[in-house]
Subunit: 88 residues, 5 copies
């Protein structure tokens, strides 16, 4: 899994119907110092994440399980809201 920050939303009226009801959140990958790295992606929310929150996201088949929509076109999902990242 990876760490990211929710930085926005995507609205798409014409979309696969199996995405209906899923918030599409623009997620900026972060490194463990919470600095942006690489390009943002679109992930479905599964834990009620809000704008600005630091989250854990998953990709691939795991994302479809996260959304409880195994036969859906989802390939990225937010699965946790970070309290702490402790680096030793």
């Amino acid at each position: 899994m990876h760490i990211g920050r929710v930085i926005g939303t995507v609205v798409a009226t014409r979309k696969d119907e199996r995405l209906t009801g899923n918030k599409l959140l623009v997620t900026q990958p972060l490194n463990m110092q919470k600095e942006p790295i690489g390009e943002a992606l679109v992930a479905v929310d599964t834990v009620g994440a809000g704008i600005g929150e630091i989250v854990i996201y998953t990709q691939g088949t795991a994302a479809r399980y996260a959304a409880d929509k195994i036969q859906s076109p989802i390939d990225a999902a937010i699965i946790g809201i970070v309290d702490n990242i402790d680096i030793y």
Copy 2:
């Protein structure tokens, strides 16, 4: 999922028959400022996307579900047409 722009089409007469009936759209990945990033890919269309439209695309097994062709050789599919990208 990622954001892209449909920039063209690919025509292939000799192809896996399970691709028959699927439009093969050249899709240029975009960042959230709608600027091109990285290399274009080929995605099957599932929502009637047209040239120039900004879309959401998915990859991997999710793409086969998107195309409703789970036993097909599809690894990327367009699954939504973007109305808005709102970055906060």
Copy 3:
């Protein structure tokens, strides 16, 4: 999916028996201007592609479906021979 050019072959006598009968084609990824990008990979042929031909290839589970060998160790397959790439 991605665009590539078949630039060679790989011969391996000692290999997983489920690859028997599959041509292993060295495939150079191309951008949409048909210029080489990144490193070549090895893909099984499923459409009779020849040296020099511009092809469409797929990766991951889709490649095993393309080869009709779902329980095989294949992770990349050529699934079409390109007639045209039209960029608008």
Copy 4:
């Protein structure tokens, strides 16, 4: 699979319930000279790995099998603690 070093932990109270009971370890990918390469990721622990230990981690569907949680949102898991890396 890849080699990494456990460098920290992630705590997330609000998370997918199927992650409950799994330690979320910040894992820094290493090259074979045990030097850091690329960005750290979050992997679930399945072998009792501790901070500073050099580990083997796996990604994708393999990670869900590693965690014995095939219907979970896990896409990376630690599956071994390295005794030796012998390069010839």
Copy 5:
């Protein structure tokens, strides 16, 4: 699939038991001129590959099929030993 060279071994006593019996080979990806590219990975051997040999490796679900351990945490496997790479 990709081409690589076996350059070493990884020993891990504490590991997922489903890896027991699998040699963990350090595999350096190569381009088609047999030059090293990118970072080495750890792949299970399925064809008796030895140190220094040039091999074909596969990743993802295909690797679990290659190892005949579909419910294992394997995400990379060596599936052939290269006799020739012929580039035209």
